[in-house]
């Protein structure tokens, strides 16, 4: 069967022959395009659109909360509305809840059942977030898991592990690092990493 209208799929990651799953992806995509379920352009546009969702989005939300106490109050009271205030489209379905790390409590986010994640604000979840090891262990021995990420949580700080679902996703508001009083909101945003918004690390001052 010739598909002269469809250029060969780009070769991924070099010269390996396509796996069964890469072939299945291509087969499904070609058939769906031929049936008019979506167009090749729809696929490209969706990928491009999702390329713009990076942890920098979450960083802007956190930096605003660090610099504007009223914004922070709104963010903790109605996270979705406060995130939308900054122009981020959270989408219709999932509820987002922002949880503040304090001197008494450290939050860490997991999705034990799958990979639910605040994608609008952080992009696609990393491999470790989806791993069997992280999903099974972080609810049972969070301090040990955080230690693997280089994060020591003092014994007198409670760790609260929150389990995301398809309909409810969490973002951690990390503590603002000491020594960042003179930084602008943009400079602060640059300190906010993906991992500290998942709660496996803390935000740290530059240098």
């Amino acid at each position: 069967m010739a598909h002269d209208h469809d250029p060969p799929a780009p070769v991924d990651g070099g010269d390996h022959p396509p796996t069964e799953y890469e072939l299945l992806e291509r087969a499904l995509r070609e058939l769906l395009i031929e049936k008019g379920v979506f167009t090749a352009e729809d696929v490209r546009r969706t990928i491009d659109d999702w390329d713009t969702r990076t942890p920098a989005n979450g960083g802007k939300v956190v930096a605003r909360a660090w610099t504007d106490p009223e914004y922070k109050a709104r963010l903790l009271a109605d996270s979705k509305a406060a995130i939308e205030e900054l122009g981020f489209d959270v989408g219709p379905a999932p509820q987002i809840v922002v949880l503040e790390n304090t001197p008494q409590r450290h939050h860490v986010v997991v999705c034990t059942l799958c990979s639910c994640y605040p994608r609008t604000l952080l992009g696609l979840p990393p491999d470790w977030y989806k791993s069997k090891e992280y999903r099974s262990r972080v609810v049972a021995e969070p301090r040990a898991v955080l230690k693997e990420f280089g994060t020591e949580v003092p014994d007198d700080v409670e760790i609260k592990v929150v389990d995301s679902t398809a309909d409810l996703r969490y973002l951690v508001l990390p503590a603002r690092p000491a020594g960042t009083e003179g930084l602008s909101e943009d400079e602060l945003a640059a300190l906010v990493t993906r991992d500290c918004m998942v709660g496996v690390t803390n935000a740290s001052a530059p240098g």
């Binding site: 069967m1 799953y21 992806e25 999702w50 059942l113 696609l124 099974s136 609810v139 990420f149």
Partner: protein
């Protein structure tokens, strides 16, 4: 079904061991991160196009059900987007969008010989 969690339900789970016990927590969290391959990004995009937007071929819970119904050995041996593309395949046939014969025919045509 009731009382029989799928392979996905692993919060707090220990692995290995036999009937006499000995199951242990999984090992260290693997920290390597790969840049998604183009085909993985396309699976992600197709999932979004089929599960969201105006098309709504299925809802997110149906996608999860499909992933969670994979045989446990596949669930743990496949990579993330391999599981997803298997789930899409399953759902598209269930929903009557594509037939098994169409998919198999196209796969045969694409398969290198």
């Amino acid at each position: 079904m009731a009382g029989m969690p799928g392979p996905h339900d692993i919060g707090g789970k220990k692995f290995g061991g036999g009937q006499g016990g000995g199951a242990k927590n999984a090992g260290a969290v693997p920290r390597g991160e790969h840049v998604f391959a183009a085909w993985e990004n396309r699976v992600d995009a197709m999932q979004r196009l089929l599960g969201g937007g105006g098309r709504k071929v299925y809802c997110i819970d149906e996608l999860r059900r499909a992933i969670e119904s994979l045989p446990p050995k596949d669930y743990f041996s496949l990579t993330y987007y391999e599981r997803w593309v298997r789930a899409l395949d399953m759902l598209l046939v269930e929903k009557g969008v594509l037939t098994r014969a169409e998919i198999d025919g196209r796969l045969a045509a694409l398969r290198p010989r």
